[in-house]
């Protein structure tokens, strides 16, 4: 796999949400509006980059039998440090992203990529993988949030849209709506994959 493929595989072909099926709980919980989706996506991407590179650096040192607890300690430490740093040095960013950061600890994409990719590959490849997976996660969240916010609130990024804002279907921003949109999007993705060959 060349570097470009390494980077872009997460966007669509191996999308963490639609194909690998990782990180579904934040995907469903936070995708009720586009601005939340973007915020969660960015925060998760930063943590993913840091944890992937760190674990790739340590991959020869960590005894394989206890790798999972070691990864969890590394990821949790990393998330906490980022949370504190943002709160101290960028209060504005903290006000908009701060609420998502504790949610990242339970985001299985982070641990999933550490286990499936970073502990077998070099630092540079792990960096590309993290960026690609982070962007793929953000894209998937935005796709779900686009439909949920538009149909459930008649808005996009908090701005009312003509026609849709008249009688929004509230169920779409609640949990069932998340499952409905998510299921339909996976079906669509698989349909395209079976037609197009990838």
């Amino acid at each position: 796999m060349n570097p470009i493929q390494q980077l872009t595989k997460g966007f669509w072909k191996d999308n963490p949400i639609f194909v690998i099926g990782l990180g579904l709980c934040p995907a469903l919980a936070v995708s009720s509006s586009l601005s939340n989706a973007v915020g969660m996506g960015i925060a998760a991407t930063f943590v993913l980059i840091g944890s992937n590179m760190m674990i790739s650096l340590l991959r020869h040192l960590v005894p394989s039998k206890i790798r999972i607890p070691v990864y969890i300690v590394i990821i949790a430490t990393f998330v906490t440090i980022i949370d504190k740093m943002i709160a101290a040095y960028s209060p504005a960013l903290s006000a908009s992203l701060g609420i998502f950061i504790p949610l990242i600890v339970v985001n299985c994409i982070i641990l999933g990529r550490a286990e499936a990719f970073a502990n077998k590959n070099g630092v540079f490849d792990s960096l590309l993988d993290a960026i690609g997976m982070g962007i793929g996660f953000t894209i998937a969240l935005c796709c779900i949030a686009f439909f949920r916010e538009l149909l459930g609130e008649g808005k996009l990024f908090g701005h009312a849209m003509p026609f849709f804002s008249k009688d929004p279907a509230l169920i779409m921003i609640m949990a069932p709506g998340g499952f409905i949109v998510f299921g339909l999007l996976i079906a669509l993705k698989r349909l395209m994959a079976s037609k197009g060959g990838n």
């Binding site: 919980a29 936070v30 995708s31 009720s32 509006s33 939340n36 969660m40 040192l61 960590v62 005894p63 039998k65 206890i66 607890p69 070691v70 300690v73 590394i74 949790a76 430490t77 906490t80 440090i81 504190k84 740093m85 709160a87 101290a88 040095y89 209060p91 609420i99 998502f100 949610l103 509230l170 921003i173 609640m174």
Partner: protein
């Protein structure tokens, strides 16, 4: 056995390094985080009680209770109202709110400082989706009942976030309770003459 010792010590080292890093981060960031919070609080005060220019913290005589409320004074030294901090229990932790109350006990402004509600649902408490109708209610009705509509009140809660909406109402009620408690002592208060109330962050306004 040897293997177990080796892995145990590795885990120990990793956890120790993580602990040291976390302690160091906490040490470096906590003063700044506190400072940011003070600034935020100062701005929030000015926002919820726009008439007031000077603030004076009123502490309880019982030192364990800490800050009771903050009195706000207009430019000419008249009492403009009080600012009360409340933190009702929300869906996933306390919702820190600041309320500005005018001298007649009516609400001048509300601001959510921090919250841990469900993103996309309970977090709307701080949005205009929820606050704009709430402000309209304050203007339209003389004595609104601060309960969500399901509970027989006047506040239009957030759909799918009733617990958060209820907590908001509890906070408002609590602040009004504080006002009733301190009502008598209000006329005795005088404006601070020298420094602003929170000198650490005097440049925030």
């Amino acid at each position: 056995m040897n293997d177990m010792l080796r892995m145990g010590s590795f885990l120990f080292i990793i956890a120790a390094v993580a602990g040291v890093l976390l302690g160091f981060t906490e040490m470096k960031t906590s003063p700044r985080i506190l400072e940011n919070r003070l600034k935020q609080l100062e701005q929030a005060r000015a926002e919820v009680l726009p008439e007031a220019k000077k603030f004076n913290d009123i502490k309880s005589e019982n030192p364990n209770e800490g800050l009771l409320y903050t009195a706000g004074f207009a430019e000419n030294g008249d009492l403009a109202g009080i600012v009360v901090n409340v933190a009702p229990k929300g869906y996933a932790g306390p919702i820190e709110m600041v309320l500005g109350l005018k001298t007649d006990g009516s609400i001048a402004g509300v601001k959510i400082l921090s919250q841990k509600e469900t993103p996309g649902l309970g977090t709307k408490l701080a949005d205009n989706v929820f606050l704009a109708p709430f402000k309209k209610l304050l203007q339209d009705k003389q004595k609104p009942v601060f309960k969500v509509k399901q509970d027989g009140g006047d506040v239009d809660g957030i759909t799918a976030a009733t617990i958060s909406s209820r907590a908001f109402c509890v906070g408002v009620t609590e602040a009004l309770g504080t006002f009733e408690k301190v009502r008598e002592q209000l006329p005795t208060l005088t404006a601070p003459t020298a420094l602003p109330a929170v000198p650490q962050s005097g440049d925030a306004k």
